[in-house]
């Protein structure tokens, strides 16, 4: 059930109307049923997996909390990590590892048999396994108490607005919200609806509109000029931002309309003037997860510069692999890890200097790097990425007029939304506009989204 399908509108309207009539227990039961219906709509066969992951972490967390024996606590933690990472490894990475092993053997001159595994990737598994692991780790670290309410915990894991593509929430933020009856205020309903509208606009009017142009350029880079490829890469940067930030807006808006606040997942990343700032603004729930549960446990920046750079690189390589089982994602992560390390090294002896020209240059450099890295993220294989890079640096001229026009329109559309939000520092900045401007803007957003919508296309991050 896609957020921008008529089925979801009916589903959400029914949930919203029933929700308000219920007390705490009823709201949680309804939330759980709705979340499982939402998830099962894609493939009901994976509901058992979701329930299993939920049950394991619910029970493990209680075991951890029940004892002060450090060894036992650690053993239980490993049970949770083993189960969650095991599920992830089996469903997401077995094929990749087997293929890589076969390729290695082929490179060594052997002729191994390449098995056909046919394992389906359960939608959202990367997100909900990370969310449940975060809970268990936090209980282990005594940062959050283990919940005794299995329904509230199951809703925390499966909360439908953010189940399939985040934000990856922390238990100490989300779980307490399921222990009180939720009565959305008028402001929550209004701003939630506005967030959803902005999300639909980002997804449908921007991401889906530029997608065919990106597909055309990436599927046949040989027939595009260098300028055309550069434009295609920029368009992909807009597409993935519109797609993912749009999803996050819809998730937050829908959740807010049900009285549950989700964290902000995007903070206008394309306004960043350094790669470090970019990662503070892009997919914040993942980057903060990686920081808290991977980078800091690896040692963070506590062991001197070399270890810091190593930890950064490892974190980003694994972050890349989290996105997808492919070497192109590893390279994407590696590029960002390398850039973060270089930036850290650069900034160690040079404090940030003020100045508009310097800021513009920093912004341009950051965007160039981010866009170059997107090539590996978008390409289906390493060779495809190299073909795109080869075309990009062939320095051939010729700007495709239609694509350029789409790019200008997409950038303009994003700026209309992002600039007021960025300047005001709040995502509901539109609510501060005069009423007549808001009215026209709302209608404009609805009509633009409607007129540019075709058949609903899945969100890019669903594949992760």
């Amino acid at each position: 059930m896609l957020f921008h399908s008529p089925t979801f509108f009916v589903f959400f309207a029914v949930v919203l109307l029933l929700y308000r009539r219920l007390g705490l227990a009823g709201q949680n039961h309804l939330s759980l049923v709705a979340s499982y219906v939402f998830f099962g709509w894609w493939d009901w066969r994976f509901l058992g997996l979701l329930a299993f992951s939920t049950a394991v972490d619910f029970l493990v967390a209680q075991r951890i909390e029940a004892t002060d024996d450090a060894a036992r606590r650690k053993r239980w933690l490993w049970v949770s990590l083993g189960v969650n990472l095991g599920l992830l490894a089996f469903f997401k990475y077995v094929g990749f590892f087997v293929d890589s092993a076969v390729d290695l053997l082929l490179a060594l001159g052997l002729t191994p048999h390449r098995p056909v595994l046919g394992i389906l990737l359960p939608i959202g598994i990367s997100f909900y396994t990370f969310q449940t692991m975060a809970y268990t780790i936090d209980v282990y670290r005594r940062r959050t108490p283990a919940t005794r309410d299995p329904v509230a915990f199951a809703v925390y894991v499966a909360w439908f607005p953010q189940l399939v593509a985040g934000p990856i929430e922390r238990a100490d933020r989300l779980l307490p919200q399921f222990s009180e009856r939720r009565l959305p205020t008028r402001h929550q309903l209004g701003s939630g609806a506005l967030l959803m509208l902005i999300g639909y606009f980002r997804k449908v009017a921007i991401a889906d509109t530029v997608a065919p142009h990106v597909d055309r350029i990436f599927s046949d880079p040989g027939s595009a000029s260098s300028l055309g490829i550069a434009l295609g890469v920029v368009l992909f940067a807009l597409q993935i931002y519109g797609d993912f930030a749009g999803y996050s807006d819809i998730a937050r808006g829908a959740s807010r309309m049900l009285g549950v606040e989700l964290m902000q997942n995007f903070e206008h990343p394309y306004f960043s003037t350094s790669i470090t700032e970019f990662w503070r603004r892009w997919h914040v729930s993942l980057s903060s997860w990686l920081r808290d549960y991977l980078y800091i446990p690896l040692g963070g920046n506590r062991g001197g510069p070399v270890k810091t750079y190593r930890n950064l690189m490892l974190t980003m390589l694994l972050g890349g692999l989290w996105h997808g089982a492919g070497w192109n994602f590893v390279i994407w992560g590696g590029l960002h890890g390398g850039a973060l390390a270089v930036h850290k090294l650069w900034r160690r002896d040079r404090p940030a200097a003020p100045g508009r020209a310097r800021a513009i240059a920093s912004w341009a450099g950051t965007m160039a790097l981010v866009c170059l890295a997107w090539i590996f993220f978008r390409a289906h294989s390493f060779s495809e990425a190299m073909a795109v890079l080869g075309g990009l640096f062939a320095f051939t001229g010729g700007l495709p007029g239609g694509t350029a026009l789409v790019a200008v329109a997409a950038v303009g559309a994003l700026l209309v939304i992002d600039v007021p939000q960025f300047r005001r520092g709040e995502h509901e900045a539109i609510l501060r506009w005069p009423w007549w401007v808001r009215g026209v803007t709302y209608a404009g957003l609805v009509l633009a989204t409607l007129l540019l919508s075709g058949s609903p296309s899945p969100f890019i991050y669903f594949q992760f």
Binding site: P6, T7, F9, L16, W436, Y442, L450, L451
Partner: protein
């Protein structure tokens, strides 16, 4: 304050009221009136008016009506069929249109019943993708389908989307509005030319022969993306047949051949769809006219311009095949 009251108070906000007023303006001023749907002749919806005003209205005494998709449109030149059946000029009317479905046929028939019921024979082309329930509704479905048709001919997500469009016509009209805006931006509304024999002329030229090899997979995979059984088009076909028979017309179904490569690829890439199609064809009595496999009726790959649209030479051969089959089955009977 309960949530419903909060929602109500939210809707009473000035900005929301202005937004709703603007949307209502678009709904009543743009999406609901018929002019929008007719404005662009080359659009999926506007083509119906081209057929009605320039083809059907000018037909004097049609004896054979041909309906179906663009493959039917290209496969049967009225003049070829008239010659082969020794019928007077103007006796055959080909109303095939791009992405034409049984719904378009029944809609055209209903809207022009006074003229079309005077014919003696109705030939209706069949397409394999009519059985794919995941195939999205066309602009004509959105323009003409009434509430019961939206409910009964569709299921799942597509039914919901059509019901939504029935209530909120702006949703139904979104493709048409976009096409109209694009036409206005170009400051040019392209017309649809007619061939000398009265058919719609979609391509700039009408080649006599086509290429030896073409990539059939793009179309094939498009027809059967997310393929699942759907009975809506068959129900529409049944309605058309019942209506025409009630008016005294003989109705014969028709298969236009595909390139062999297309059929082979359908069999291997979409076996369920292939089996569904075969089961349907086998269940039809009398069997449809025409043929399925090009090579079975002596058509060459070069007789097609693509996966299944006949070029000029192929269309002439096909017209004589249909004429032979009609004569063999005793037509014309009176």
């Amino acid at each position: 304050m309960p949530t419903a009251a909060r929602l109500r108070s939210l809707l009473r906000g000035k900005a929301t009221r202005l937004c709703l007023a603007l949307l209502l303006l678009v709904e009543l001023g743009v999406a609901r009136p018929d002019w929008l749907w007719r404005l662009v002749p080359r659009s999926g919806a506007g083509i119906v008016d081209v057929l009605e005003t320039r083809v059907i209205a000018r037909a004097e005494a049609p004896q054979i009506i041909v309906m179906g998709s663009s493959r039917v449109r290209d496969a049967l030149s009225p003049r070829d069929l008239e010659r082969a059946l020794r019928l007077p000029t103007g006796a055959v009317l080909n109303l095939g249109l791009t992405s034409g479905t049984p719904f378009d046929a029944v809609t055209l028939y209903r809207r022009n019943r006074a003229k079309l019921r005077t014919a003696r024979l109705l030939l209706v082309g069949l397409e394999d993708w009519y059985l794919n329930g995941a195939m999205a509704p066309t602009e004509r479905d959105r323009r003409f389908a009434d509430l019961s048709e939206r409910w009964s001919d569709w299921d799942g997500e597509l039914r919901l989307s059509l019901l939504l469009g029935y209530v909120w016509r702006t949703y139904d009209a979104r493709d048409v509005i976009r096409e109209t805006l694009q036409a206005l931006a170009r400051r040019r509304v392209r017309d649809v030319p007619l061939a000398p024999d009265g058919r719609l002329l979609w391509r700039a030229d009408e080649p006599q022969t086509g290429p030896v090899d073409v990539d059939v997979l793009a179309e094939l995979d498009g027809f059967f993306r997310d393929d699942r059984p759907g009975l809506g088009r068959r129900a529409q076909l049944a309605r058309l047949i019942a209506l025409a028979q009630a008016d005294g017309l003989e109705v014969r179904l028709l298969r236009v051949p595909w390139r062999d490569a297309y059929l082979d690829a359908r069999h291997t890439r979409h076996p369920a769809a292939d089996a569904r199609w075969r089961a349907w064809i086998d269940s039809l009595t009398p069997p449809p006219l025409g043929a399925e496999r090009a090579s079975a009726v002596g058509l060459l790959p070069t007789d097609f311009v693509d996966y299944g649209h006949l070029a000029g030479r192929g269309a002439t051969l096909f017209a004589s095949l249909i004429a032979d089959q009609l004569r063999t089955s005793g037509w014309p009977a009176r």
